[in-house]
């Protein structure tokens, strides 16, 4: 039933390719006679490369070339830091000089006829260093603390309102605590791979990417080329979570290598290299103060955070911009600082600002509820608001308490005994906890081309990406609805920079941004068919009332003409429409930036007229063993309100995955750092613990209906990053309920509870 295709749950249109092994990810795509690249990465975090002895490596059979700073200096130009309007994940240029800026920085690339030979060559390349004392991060000598405001040179202001310190001094009840979150790495299962080939001065890059237009324009800027000579293909992406959103150092090196060798070059970086040649979620330390009256109404909120970054790049996530808008509060002060250390530059990782900062706020809210003797859900209720408190902008919709009420009922929240350590099952202490979740509704300018053929098939072309999010499917659903066709008559092409540009697959914007522009293209097709229909059986009907339904052009009175006939009147062949959209509230230059491949998302919580966000409530049950302090999570439940749900099947999977991510973040995930040498210790996916099947409990996802046509015409709020925001605090709160011990540093492990 094509009408109302949005809101139905078809199986993924790319699903068959994925279960048969025919979905081709970047390193699966064949190129003729590739040479292989293998990276050599630095063994120190700070210092200089003093000597590179290539003799032994060059003797390895099949070794063709070795790139080092000695032959690469000046080859790769600055393309600008992505967070400053440019393209690259770091301002550190690859193999630019002998300086080592962080552990695992690329110091050489060995090229050979085969993968095995390149690997051996890399192993036999001897790099010598002059090591300097590195600063690993917090508490390290030599790390440099700067306020985010100063680092931003005026582009960032810490949100504030009223006089938080004065209000705290007179508040009836206060809570003050420090929280800490660890370094985490995305670790998508697909490794970081790049294949480059040149033909007649044109460069083709095969690389899993969340932003093919950004990659294309960025690599063109790095190599001093016209972007039209670069093509980036990324039809399938083996997980990203933010790690493939900006241009990392490896891509330009592979491109230069392919140019030097005059043949395609293929790089499959190793898992441990992935920890240092791409980005990560930086560790934070935060300080929160809450003041409330005796009924729990907040009178003051102070939230300060410090985030680690690299030496050169002022990267920050500044989640205070979300936490300050969570609850009604007249007096708010926030401050974000960054700590420059000898580390690789961090970057987006699923819900970048919200995951660390909401952990602190939602833990503090639970602490306040305990101090007040209040149900934590009721504390959220008395502080719920339909206006964000900094500028007083109205939320276009906010169903936070509906989510809590629905979730609480399904979870059985009422059955809990609020007293900590009061619930037990044999040797296991049982606890329950909850927390709010939020994700801002970001939107971006987008373009798409939709073609309707005379026999009633549609092709949608847009350079968006399916990183597992279901984008192929939801875009097909939008076109099927817009053109009144069955889903199987719609083909969607994405993940290719030759296609009309679409925004970065980040910030949970794509479903809203891309479906909106696809629907606009479909509407133009409908209008053209309707205008031409006056010669046929629909003569006399107002063209504005004609709709594409069930393969026909149909009037409200039921008179209909098959789409093939309507097509015959309107066109001699196919109808092809290109549409461009700038979402309401975004600046007019958003489209220009999109064509330049720059990152230009807007709206969310920082709009000028309204605030837009999806909300939810998350509930967990934990069991903590009374003798061993092992923590298990038998139940996770989330109730979410995210506007119109385009495909409940894929949406549920994303939110379920998000809840499990949140659980993993709370209990398992941390990149351990050797504090003396500033090097990552557990840089593999056996020792960097991610949730495995045996860790995963019963997971329930509930959708709370929400109608919001202010966010965009289709009423869509993104939800890819909504699921994993509240979970950390919900688990910490449940652990407190089970044990009476408040853990304020993640992950919560056995040693946290002894």
């Amino acid at each position: 039933m094509p009408e109302g295709m949005i809101g139905q749950s078809p199986v993924r249109v790319d699903g068959r390719a994925k279960v048969t092994g025919t979905a081709h990810y970047a390193s699966d795509m064949a190129v003729p006679n590739p040479a292989w690249a293998f990276l050599v990465t630095s063994a120190i975090a700070r210092g200089r490369v003093t000597e590179i002895n290539e003799a032994e490596a060059r003797q390895v059979s099949g070794v063709l070339d070795i790139l080092t700073h000695r032959n690469m200096r000046g080859e790769v130009q600055d393309a600008g830091f992505f967070a400053g309007g440019g393209y690259t994940s770091t301002t550190m240029r690859p193999l630019e000089d002998d300086r080592v800026h962080h552990d695992g920085e690329i110091v050489a690339m060995v090229l050979a006829e085969t993968y095995e030979q390149a690997r051996e060559g890399a192993y036999r390349l001897h790099v010598h260093y002059a090591e300097e004392n590195p600063a690993a991060g917090f508490d390290a000598e030599g790390a440099e603390l700067v306020s985010a405001k100063d680092a931003s040179k005026g582009s960032f202001e810490d949100p504030a309102v009223g006089d938080a310190d004065a209000a705290l001094a007179t508040a009836a009840v206060t809570v003050e605590a420090d929280y800490a979150t660890p370094t985490q790495h995305h670790n998508p299962i697909e490794l970081f791979t790049t294949t480059a080939s040149w033909e007649n001065g044109r460069l083709t890059i095969l690389e899993g990417s969340q932003y093919v237009h950004g990659l294309r324009n960025g690599i063109a800027a790095q190599l001093g080329m016209d972007p039209s000579l670069v093509r980036v293909e990324s039809p399938f992406i083996g997980g990203a979570f933010g790690s493939r959103g900006s241009l990392t150092q490896r891509t330009a090196l592979v491109a230069v290598a392919a140019r030097r060798l005059r043949r395609p070059v293929k790089l499959v970086a190793t898992r441990d290299q992935g920890f240092t040649i791409a980005t990560y979620r930086a560790e934070t330390r935060q300080h929160v103060k809450l003041g409330a009256d005796k009924d729990g109404k907040l009178v003051a909120l102070v939230h300060e955070g410090v985030e680690v970054t690299s030496r050169p790049d002022p990267y920050k996530v500044a989640g205070t911009q979300t936490t300050c808008r969570m609850y009604a509060c007249p007096n708010i002060r926030t401050k974000v600082s960054i700590l420059h250390a000898d580390r690789n530059t961090p970057g987006f990782m699923r819900s970048p600002p919200e995951v660390p900062y909401m952990f602190a706020l939602e833990s503090a809210m639970d602490e306040l509820a305990v101090k007040l003797g209040m149900d934590p859900i009721e504390l959220r209720r008395v502080n719920d608001t339909m206006h964000e408190p900094i500028k007083g902008l109205p939320y276009t919709s906010r169903s936070l308490m509906q989510c809590f009420d629905r979730g609480a009922e399904a979870f059985g929240w009422k059955q809990r005994n609020p007293e900590p350590r009061s619930m037990r099952d044999g040797d296991w202490l049982v606890g329950v906890g909850c927390a709010s979740t939020i994700y801002p509704t970001h939107l971006g300018a987008a373009t798409a081309r939709v073609t309707l053929t005379p026999n009633g098939h549609a092709r949608v072309q847009t350079a968006a990406h399916d990183i597992g999010t279901g984008t192929y499917t939801v875009v097909a659903q939008a076109a099927a609805e817009g053109l009144g066709l069955p889903l199987e008559k719609v083909v969607v092409e994405m993940g290719d920079s030759e296609l009309p540009p679409a925004p970065v697959s980040g910030g949970s914007n794509v479903t809203a941004s891309v479906c909106t522009v696809v629907m606009q293209a479909c509407e133009q097709i409908r209008a053209r068919l309707a205008a031409a229909a006056q010669d046929g059986p629909l003569k006399g009907r107002d063209p504005a009332t004609l709709r594409l339904v069930d393969g026909t052009l149909r009037a409200p009175d039921g008179t209909a003409e098959p789409i093939a006939d309507a097509m015959g009147r309107a066109s001699n062949g196919a109808i092809e429409i290109s549409a461009e959209n700038i979402p309401k509230g975004l600046p007019p230059d958003s489209l220009k930036k999109l064509y330049q491949g720059r990152q230009a998302l807007g709206a969310g919580l920082e709009g000028k007229e309204v605030a837009m966000a999806a909300f939810g409530a998350e509930f967990v049950e934990v069991r903590v063993h009374s003798r061993t302090a092992e923590v298990r999570v038998p139940r996770l439940l989330g109730a979410f309100a995210a506007g119109r749900i385009v495909n409940p099947r894929t949406a549920r999977s994303q939110l379920m995955g998000g809840l499990i991510w949140g659980m993993g973040g709370a209990l398992l995930e941390a990149t351990e750092i050797d504090q003396r040498r500033a090097r990552y210790v557990n840089d593999n996916i056996a020792e960097y613990l991610i949730a495995v099947n045996a860790d995963v409990p019963k997971v329930d996802v509930l959708f709370v209906e929400e109608e919001d046509r202010q966010v965009n015409p289709l009423g869509i709020k993104g939800l890819g990053e909504l699921g994993n925001v509240g979970t950390n605090a919900a688990i910490a709160n449940a652990v407190f309920h089970a044990t009476g011990k408040r853990v304020r540093e993640l992950p919560i492990r056995i040693e946290s509870l002894l």
């Binding site: 199986v11 993924r12 790319d14 699903g15 068959r16 994925k18 279960v19 048969t20 092994g21 025919t22 390193s27 990465t41 063994a43 120190i44 003799a55 032994e56 003797q59 390895v60 059979s61 695992g104 993968y115 095995e116 690997r119 051996e120 890399a122 790099v127 090591e131 670790n187 299962i189 697909e190 490794l191 992406i237 083996g238 997980g239 990203a240 499959v268 190793t270 898992r271 441990d272 990183i467 597992g468 999010t469 894929t650 999977s653 994303q654 379920m656 995955g657 499990i660 210790v681 840089d683 593999n684 996916i685 056996a686 020792e687 613990l689 991610i690 495995v692 099947n693 045996a694 995963v696």
Partner: protein
């Protein structure tokens, strides 16, 4: 942070595999590593072998260091099996060797000679009909990005055939060698439960 070839131990909850040939890991040398004595690095002779994959014989000439995974992906264009870690930690490379699931990244191609290799490409029928496990993964949305999926499906078939899919808890335990970063785990368990009776009939 490995600077020397790994011992090739099983992963944290690794349940699978033939832990044999550990490939060299990334060459991140220790800072003060003395240069090893310069060796004459002669041509390494290739070997010839025949691999039986999905019912077909493939004669090959390979560097002896080539893993089964790289033989499939880079020499036979069978890219369904995926490289997610190359060290036996993630399970994305899982294939069946004489019907038993193995990690093809920890199996040298030479070790597969004389055995029947089954990959994801060999599951669907000649008419395109999906194997019940493939259909169940599709129906239960048991994947998102799809990268770990071929390994999950091969492992799931192995899990059922071993008799380790009697209860959900058992499936969860015996599927824990296959990581899914998108965390489709509950749907994977449902898919295996749904496919198991169909496989019995097949």
């Amino acid at each position: 942070m490995t600077s020397q070839p790994d011992e090739g131990g099983l992963g944290r909850r690794g349940l699978l595999g033939v832990g044999a040939a550990a490939p060299f890991l990334a060459p991140r040398q220790a800072a003060a590593q003395p240069a090893p004595p310069s060796l004459p690095l002669k041509e390494r002779p290739d070997m010839t072998l025949t691999l039986h994959i999905n019912g077909k014989a493939h004669p090959l000439t390979l560097d002896p260091r080539v893993t089964l995974l790289d033989a499939l992906r880079e020499h036979l264009a069978l890219t369904g099996a995926k490289k997610g870690c190359d060290q036996g930690q993630c399970g994305a490379c899982t294939v069946l060797l004489d019907g038993h699931r193995v990690l093809s990244c920890l199996t040298l191609a030479a070790m597969a000679e004389g055995k029947e290799v089954t990959t994801i490409e060999g599951l669907a029928g000649a008419d395109g009909a999906l194997h019940p496990m493939q259909q169940a993964f599709l129906d239960h949305d048991a994947f998102q990005c799809g990268y770990c999926t071929p390994g999950q499906i091969m492992s799931a078939i192995g899990c059922v055939q071993e008799g380790h899919a009697e209860k959900p808890e058992q499936i969860r335990e015996y599927m824990s060698g296959n990581l899914c970063r998108c965390a489709a785990y509950p749907n994977i368990v449902e898919a295996i439960q749904a496919a198991k009776p169909q496989m019995g009939r097949a």
